[in-house]
């Protein structure tokens, strides 16, 4: 069995620097146990006998270890209809504003920028089907992305447990899910096909740009894991990914005004959201 070596101060610092460069996520001594646990997990998985051996494996990216390592670090706790007030805002205000200068049949693009196992983009799809009577008037495209490729696989499969569905009315579970076994449900195939999933690292402009511009971006409870520099970098990337006049929704404890001056703050009845200034020409 692999040892569980405590990392030296120097090893811990080098690892955190590496993690920061690769993902933008910041970990300090306060999170040492959290970081070490994941290193031990990966060492056991890869059979590395020492931290030095594992770190070498990581840096040479043998067997796609960087991605595996990143996957072990991401937090994937979420559920359907989380922060429902923003979904209300989407259909009460944001969509109306976005379509005001669109033609019927035009695309409306929505991006769930850290979608984890898919609860958020599927919630957006279900919410629109249930609450926006113009859903057939436009070509709605929903993209879900995450830095963690493992969760994207789960998102595509679309199976969820009781906890993920706890906020969803039973009627909607019956309508859009199939019960697979006791307390496991799978979202119906057509809804799964209506959301496309793709890996994106928000601090890598090369990765964010290739997905084009969106009308609305949901980026909730992600930037809290970044430090000021990478948070700002991610905000600038997200700005470029918004159509002029497009909106970005952050988590309830997050404020874009602290991160970047690029966006206008808009207060709607249900939520505060941020907007890329300007209108389409």
């Amino acid at each position: 069995m692999t040892e569980r070596p405590a990392l030296t101060e120097d090893e811990f610092r080098r690892l955190c620097e590496y993690l920061y460069r690769r993902t933008g996520m910041v970990f300090t001594e306060a999170k040492r146990y959290y970081v070490e646990r994941r290193v031990w997990e990966r060492m056991a998985e890869t059979g590395a006998a020492s931290f030095a051996g594992y770190f070498a494996l990581l840096r040479t990216d043998t067997r796609d270890e960087i991605q595996q390592f990143v996957n072990a670090f991401t937090v994937n706790e979420t559920y359907f209809y989380r922060e429902e007030y923003q979904l209300k805002c989407l259909t009460n205000d944001l969509m109306t504003e976005r379509v005001s200068d669109k033609q019927a049949g035009d695309p409306i693009r929505i991006w769930s920028a850290a979608c984890s196992t898919g609860e958020e983009p599927y919630s957006i799809a279900i919410w629109l089907l249930e609450n926006w009577s113009r859903v057939d008037e436009y070509f709605i495209e929903i993209v879900g992305s995450d830095i963690d490729t493992r969760v994207l696989e789960l998102a595509r499969a679309g199976t969820f447990g009781k906890r993920a569905l706890m906020r969803l009315p039973a009627e909607l579970i019956g309508k859009y899910f199939q019960e697979l076994s006791a307390e496991r449900w799978q979202i119906e195939a057509q809804l799964r096909d209506s959301v496309s999933f793709t890996p994106v690292n928000l601090v890598e402009p090369g990765q964010t740009r290739q997905h084009g511009q969106f009308d609305v971006i949901f980026c909730r409870n992600v930037l809290i894991y970044f430090d000021d520099t990478s948070r700002r970098l991610a905000a600038e990337n997200l700005y470029d990914n918004l159509l002029p006049g497009g909106f970005i929704c952050l988590g309830h404890s997050e404020s874009m005004s602290r991160i970047s001056p690029l966006f206008d703050v808009r207060r709607f009845a249900d939520a505060i959201v941020y907007q890329r200034p300007g209108t389409r020409t």
């Binding site: 049949g105 089907l129 859903v135 057939d136 929903i142 057509q190 809804l191």
Partner: protein, 128 residues
């Protein structure tokens, strides 16, 4: 609704629109099949006829009007399956073109739930 549910084929390239129409029609007691474009719809109909078509106009591979025109030329009973066109196009010329291609009725998107059910029932000869 009758004991044997009527089957509707929804032909639309937008995935969410297909889910939307299907949920409305299933709730009203219809069975629903789906096709992404006219070509796929023709293939499905060769295998098994349906009672009603709900057809979008702008679709890749084969648009709704070409699909209806092709279908109406076919031999046998599938040529006369009633068709409800749903489209964002709302000019008189579009209505005329749809009628010429063989549409029985035309609804401009966004289509209201009640409206979709009402016309589906009417064209299938089902009482509510």
């Amino acid at each position: 609704m009758t004991a044997v549910p009527k089957t509707v084929l929804v032909v639309d390239d937008a995935g969410l629109v297909r889910v939307y129409y299907r949920s409305i029609l299933e709730e009203a007691g219809f069975r629903v099949e789906e096709a992404l474009n006219g070509l796929e719809a023709l293939e499905i109909l060769l295998a098994r006829p349906v009672d009603l078509l709900v057809v979008d106009i702008n679709m890749p591979q084969m648009d709704g009007l070409t699909f209806l025109g092709t279908l109406r030329e076919k031999e046998g009973s599938i040529a006369s399956i009633p068709a409800l066109v749903t489209s964002t196009e709302s000019a008189d010329a579009d209505f005329a073109a749809a009628r010429a291609a063989g549409a029985n009725y035309y609804l401009v998107k966004p289509v209201e739930r009640e409206q979709l059910v009402e016309f589906a029932r009417m064209l299938c000869g089902v009482r509510s």
